[in-house]
């Protein structure tokens, strides 16, 4: 395997694996919750990066996949009595199908039009679910506490969900790496740079874009199922929060657009930074404004993000930082 000899593959994978394993080693539940959130953001950002960073399509509705996967998974677990794993997989499959159909339709739009359409899709789906009584409508659904017994009790259920979160995070990072270093990924990068030229060069852009879109949909769907399982309840407002998509984009920008490691670094940095801003006595009241200024500075002065900047500044690190 070419991958196994590539240091940059191991850098990305091991960072996620080691960081993810840390709470397992220490057994700290609090560390687990902290890391669980970071891993979830890694999943969201890494998968979004396939469409945003590699293919160049600005997707504001990425969170729709998270919400759909969460809803389907939650419905199967709480109402149908399925086990978490098949429920999450079923949620991911349905979400992938949804992404395939949606992608084939809206990926015809380019630039700002596509970005706007994704906002519209997220809002339409959210509004639809609010009106869908079988899925609990605006009230959402709750899960009986006894369901956790099947996973060795509620405490254990959280560890199970966490373990699966690590697996999904690793899968999403490996997929991101796989795409980035493959012929398929090169095609996506060409589409990002100039879609018309890419078409003339022989890249079947409509198909490639749709595949990228589907790939990017699977992981947030899995994460959504895990997250809401852990949560014990689901509501449309939490499942389709547009703001979370934007946060995902910010993470990617922070870490490095179009790189494998960037979204990982971006997710962790963003999460820690926010935690700091929120609790720092100096920034507490102005944390949002401060974060805004920071974001603006990054976009203007370090547009390639942390990893991108390192790669540009020190070409030697390119071998290890993909």
């Amino acid at each position: 395997m070419r991958w196994l000899r590539d240091p940059s593959f191991w850098v990305s994978v091991l960072i996620v694996a080691l960081a993810g394993a840390w709470p397992l080693v220490t057994g700290s539940a609090s560390g687990r919750e902290d890391m669980s959130l970071i891993l979830m953001f890694v999943i969201l950002a890494s998968s979004l990066n396939i469409v945003l960073g590699y293919t160049g399509y600005v997707n504001f509705g990425h969170i729709v996949f998270f919400g759909l996967g969460g809803y389907i998974g939650f419905y199967l677990i709480s109402q149908m009595g399925w086990h978490l794993i098949p429920a999450a997989i079923a949620g991911a499959i349905v979400t992938a199908l949804f992404a395939a159909v949606l992608g084939a339709i809206i990926l015809r739009l380019r630039g700002a039009y596509f970005a706007l359409a994704t906002i519209g899709v997220n809002e339409a789906v959210r509004a639809l679910i609010v009106n869908w009584d079988a899925l609990g409508g605006a009230v959402g659904m709750t899960m009986n506490f006894k369901r956790y017994q099947a996973y060795g009790g509620p405490m254990n259920a959280l560890w199970v969900a966490y373990g699966l979160m690590i697996v999904v995070a690793l899968l999403s990072v490996i997929t991101s790496y796989g795409v980035r270093t493959s012929k398929f990924g090169l095609g996506l990068l060409a589409i990002r740079e100039d879609e018309d030229a890419a078409l003339v060069l022989g890249i079947a852009a409509p198909k490639a874009k749709t595949i990228a879109f589907v790939l990017s949909a699977i992981f947030p769907a899995l994460a959504g199922a895990l997250f809401f399982f852990k949560n014990g309840n689901i509501e449309p407002g939490d499942a389709f929060r547009l703001h979370m998509s934007v946060e995902g984009i910010v993470m990617i920008m922070l870490g490095g657009y179009g790189t494998v490691l960037g979204p990982i670094v971006g997710a962790a940095t963003y999460e820690r930074l926010r935690g700091y801003l929120l609790t720092s006595p100096i920034f507490k009241d102005l944390q949002l404004a401060f974060a805004g200024v920071l974001l603006l500075l990054i976009i203007i002065f370090v547009p390639s993000g942390l990893v991108g900047w390192l790669r540009n500044r020190f070409p030697k690190v390119r071998r290890v930082l993909a």
């Binding site: 012929k183 890419a198 060069l201 890249i203 079947a204």
Partner: protein, 251 residues
């Protein structure tokens, strides 16, 4: 010799404007055909019809015996038609090598990434861009970008190469070296259809020439025949004196 490309009564309209009007001609395998005509004559539009960017309203385009009319550009590219654009379109944020690798991987031979890289290295050597392989394409100068455009098309290992004003904007030395490249490409057995404004150059390298004016084909033949065709001189160049002098220069 066999016919590689057949343009059969192709018409392309934009609203009321007829950009290409019932144009027909044949292209033999291994030949260099120059396509000339004043600005707005429909040359680039015809290219766009051939490689699938536009679907013509009427007529057929046959490539190696297959009807490719209205096929999407990527399908046409896979069948072995590559194109270098008039306005260069490098993939700016990718390295020169990656740019050419894209051409190789998604071209006629549908190579794997590794094989594509190898082909790309060869082609870069061939067009003289080898030492720039790791530079981002956006950072090249105009002449280098033109070469890159050409390299990317070549890497696809096409049967037919569409060259759209690849000489425009180059200084005389660069033109000369690019012409050498074009000749060398033909040596490899690749058929070339080229749009060119530089008269002496196109007269020099083309085996035959087709002249378009207002979307219509007004002349076809050897450079010499075309150069002496009064219709061409009148319609295309307006000033016969100037035209003749330009054509003379080409000899």
């Amino acid at each position: 010799m066999s016919v590689i490309l057949e343009i059969d009564h192709v018409t392309k309209r934009f609203g009321g404007l007829i950009a290409v009007n019932e144009v027909s001609f044949l292209l033999e395998e291994g030949e260099i055909l120059g396509l000339i005509g004043p600005n707005g004559a429909g040359k680039t539009t015809l290219f766009n019809c051939i490689n699938g960017v536009y679907a013509p309203e009427e007529g057929r385009i046959l490539f190696r015996g297959h009807d490719i009319t209205g096929k999407p550009p990527y399908a046409v590219a896979r069948m072995g038609i590559a194109r270098a654009h008039q306005v260069v379109r490098p993939l700016n944020e990718l390295s020169v090598l990656d740019n050419v690798t894209v051409g190789a991987c998604y071209g006629r031979e549908n190579l794997s990434l590794g094989e594509g890289r190898r082909v790309a290295e060869e082609v870069l050597e061939f067009v003289g861009l080898a030492e720039k392989r790791d530079v981002l394409a956006g950072k090249l100068n105009v002449a280098e970008k033109k070469r890159l455009e050409m390299a990317r098309a070549l890497a696809a290992r096409p049967y037919l190469l569409l060259l759209d004003e690849v000489l425009a904007g180059l200084n005389p030395a660069e033109v000369a070296s690019m012409l050498n490249v074009i000749r060398a490409i033909r040596e490899q057995g690749i058929t070339i259809l080229m749009i060119e404004h530089l008269m002496h150059a196109v007269m020099n390298v083309s085996d035959r020439i087709v002249v378009l004016d207002y979307g219509k084909k007004i002349a076809e033949g050897s450079p010499k025949e075309v150069a002496n065709d009064p219709k061409v001189i009148e319609a295309y160049l307006g000033d016969p004196e100037l035209a003749l002098s330009l054509l003379e220069e080409g000899k």
